[in-house]
């Protein structure tokens, strides 16, 4: 992987070229990634590979006009060529009406979340990890399919106004789907960490196998409105839609769930259960993130929902300038947690007279942005809870459910401890009602 000096030297070279070519302002960003992966299915390895690439993006402004180009050749000739071409694009482009001068020198916290060993996977060690997962599947006589991946990335950026930054990050994750031999049960489990050494392949496989075995021969229930417990995986499957709706510009323009009446937004309203907190924090010990936004704003803890109140929307630099506000120092990740002590999964189940325990969701799509109505299906483990105990597996169901209604003050009954499911840390949730509209035959 490119070192700080190597990466920033490439950026500086491009900056010099674009200045010579006539750029008034410029930003160069670079990403160098090494990725290794292996897939298996039907208890046998399928495909496996490694790739390495360098992407260099140069964005320039000439007389207020903007041009951008990305290339993946860091050779001297190529750097000169993309620099000159970016300027040429800018010269023939219209004036960029949302131009904000590039950032000057800024201090960034040191990035956490990089483990050097994740960059170059030890093939023998990975084979052993995969073998432990395959053995867990074969022993239980289930069909295992899974994915193991490790990625290390160096990112660097430099601007004509003197901003320089360089971060290293790594990410490893593994997921396993186990399906019972009779095809009536299926379980899924995933784990991820920035340090490959913290990935426990055997445990991940065993969790998936256990769900597959326990979900066999499901019984159908009528679609309708039920109390539910969502495991953290299920919560993470819905979280992205809530986070996307937090963009301030869309809300200000009257086309978001957080747009209010008469041109206002819903900032400050107690829209969610009073124990719900949602925030971004690059220094979170379990889920560290790059300590800068995509635009280069130094990231810091950013509260989005506090005590159930919509506390902040997210402002990019241009929109912040338009509204005479500061750009938000994030989000760079999303952490949802309870303001009260977390409730364990066992206690949630015990406190449920009747309802459904949901492992995960699948093919979730935004049906209505006005209230963040989503549709999707349960998958890989759905059980009926009767009188505080898991009673039996249930056939999968399609849901149509508003996220705002789901997290409303009157609907959230308990919140668990957050679990890392990058880029989220989310808890299990016990909810009073959740709307299902049809049965799925899928296992």
């Amino acid at each position: 992987m490119l070192t700080r000096d190597e990466a920033l030297k490439i950026c500086e070279t491009v900056l010099a070229h674009v200045k010579s070519a006539g750029a008034d302002d410029a930003m160069v960003s670079l990403q160098n990634a090494i990725e290794s992966h292996a897939r298996f299915a039907d208890n046998s390895i399928t495909t496996s590979g490694r790739s390495e690439d360098v992407d260099i993006t140069v964005t320039v402004w000439v007389g207020g006009r903007r041009g951008a180009i990305t290339g993946n050749d860091a050779g001297a000739d190529a750097l000169k060529r993309i620099s000159e071409e970016a300027v040429q694009i800018a010269r023939v482009s219209p004036v960029h009406r949302e131009y904000v001068p590039t950032l000057g020198p800024l201090d960034y916290p040191a990035a956490r979340g990089f483990a050097a060993a994740t960059a170059e996977v030890d093939l023998a060690a990975r084979a052993a990890a995969l073998q432990s997962a395959l053995t867990a599947c074969r022993t239980a006589k289930v069909n295992g399919a899974g994915f193991h991946t490790a990625r290390a990335t160096a990112t660097a950026a430099a601007t004509a106004h003197g901003n320089r930054r360089y971060f290293q990050t790594s990410h490893a994750d593994m997921s396993v789907t186990a399906r019972s031999a009779d095809g009536t049960g299926s379980g899924y489990y995933a784990g991820d960490h920035f340090d490959l050494a913290r990935l426990d392949a055997k445990r991940i496989a065993e969790q998936a196998v256990g769900k597959a075995v326990r979900s066999q021969q499901p019984k159908a229930i009528e679609p309708g409105v039920y109390p539910v417990i969502l495991e953290p995986q299920a919560v993470s499957d819905l979280m992205g839609f809530l986070n996307n709706a937090l963009d301030a510009r869309t809300a200000d323009e009257g086309r978001s769930a957080f747009s209010g009446k008469d041109g206002k937004t819903r900032l400050g309203e107690p829209l969610f259960h009073p124990q719900i907190n949602l925030y971004s924090d690059p220094m979170h010990p379990e889920l560290p993130a790059v300590p800068a936004t995509n635009e280069g704003i130094p990231a810091a803890r950013l509260s989005l929902i506090k005590g159930g109140v919509l506390e902040n929307l997210t402002y990019a630099r241009y929109w912040a300038q338009q509204r005479k506000l500061q750009p938000t120092p994030g989000p760079v990740n999303f952490i949802m947690e309870s303001a009260a002590p977390p409730v364990s999964m066992d206690d949630m189940i015990k406190a449920t007279p009747r309802g459904l325990l949901i492992s995960r969701f699948w093919y979730v799509r935004l049906v209505d942005p006005r209230t963040i109505v989503l549709t999707g299906l349960t998958r890989d483990g759905l059980w009926w809870i009767d009188k505080g105990r898991i009673s039996h597996p249930v056939r999968n169901l399609r849901f149509n459910q508003s996220v705002l209604a789901m997290l409303a003050p009157w609907n959230v009954q308990a919140i668990g401890a957050p679990q890392r499911l990058s880029p989220f840390m989310v808890p299990a949730l016990k909810l009073g009602s959740f709307t299902f509209t049809s049965i799925s035959d899928a296992i």
Binding site: A41, S51, A68, N72, D262, T375, R398, A442
Partner: protein, 521 residues
Amino acid sequence: MSVSRRQFLATSGVLVAGTWVPDWTEAFQQAGAGKDAVRAEVAEAALARATALGASYADIRINRYRRESIATRERQVQNVSRSTSYGLGLRVLVNGAWGFAATNLVNAGAARTAAEQAVAIARANAALATRKVVLASADKAVSTWTSAFTRDPFEVPLDTKIGFLMKLNETALGVTGVSFVSSQILFVDEQKYFASSEGSRITQRLVRTYPQFSTTAADRSSGDFQTRAVVDRAKLLGYEYVEDYPWLQDAEKAGHEVVEKLKSKPVASGRYDIVVDPSQLFLAIHESVGHSTELDRALGWEANMAGTSFVKPTDAGKLRFGSKIVNLVGDRTQPGGLATTGYDDEGVKAERWHIVRDGMFVDWQTTRELAPLVGQQRSHGCLHADDWSSVPFPRMPNVSLEPAATEVSLAHLFSEIKRGLFIEGRGVSSIDQQRYNFQFGGAVIREIRDGKLGAMVKDAAYQSRTPDFWASCDGVGGPATYRLWGTSADGKGEPGQTNAVSHGCPPARFRNITVLNTAAL
């Protein structure tokens, strides 16, 4: 639009007329595209090294991708960007297991290193394989193929392209009540070189054009808003597609539609006979037919991500998929189709074949690895990788519904409906992991009453189960109603890859389908 293009450019900030970036094409050529001799040398080095290290089979793709993207909103350009990506990806078979390595360094030394890495990966994983890979035979191909286009979009001046989008936006904004318009156009140029240890050497060039836009109407006093997206129009064509298709007509129509949608009444949930326009039906075909008939899914290879299939590996020739008027073909030769190609990514020549004939499921989408697993001797040519750095794997061909043999009009399909809905355009789509249960929306939905098209309704989505849905099909339009639409970012695989694929179809009628009011839930 009464404003001339020149007048418009003068008022929209696009002041530099008739200009383009001369080095764009030149730089691309200089950088190595078309340099078959260089690529051949690199390929030979990789294949020789892989074979020497014990690979029983190896292939290499040395590809360059060039993209140009322009994004606008209302009366301004948000972004003009270009990208090029060049690199090689090498696949090897050692002891019956696959290994793959890819690098952005395209030279003989880097290629040999990639071969060593790929072989090491295959060797390390061979012990984890319970099934040794066997490839169906394929003809050796030494060929060059270029997709059909008449105007290279990369040679069209930038201001011409920007002018097109600005005029499109202005047309939609000209409709009273339209609050926002966004539009984008993406041009993709794939220059691919393939070489295999079996002697195939194939050079291909594919040019695609992806225009899309959306209109939004917002009522600031009530906080209500609606959007009408037109996002399914990408084709394997050049800039002539921008010039020949009536985009401004569509933009004005989309403006009127979104304004009407904001004021329309909510649909009443219930059972309806529905007529689905090609602009929506293409997506229903994609999700319910395209993905369910991928053999790798049926075999469980995608179980951890995209899922499996309700169609079983032994079902070919035995499973009734739909009514007798339902005929679906896989086709990698269809003109304009996003998945159309000369050869797939393991050198198999593109072809057309029936997947569903007279309502019966008859055949799979296959690759050289998959075909033998269902007793077939030859691949249907469905191997694809979305980048030089991606592992090639089974991807969907264009899967299309054949029209009726004689002309059947849209009005005729409506005429036999007492209470129904006509569904156009892309709405929300969601389907389960075995492709049974689906829910699809539409961009524009109108009532059908006593055989006639009526008022627009909103908040509607239809739900069904794939075999029930296709069994309920009792009418398809004739050849004149056939359209080819496509999706540009079909996700599958781990690491995730995207694929562009088209689906041709006439409008079709389906009886007694469940329709939800999604706002009333």
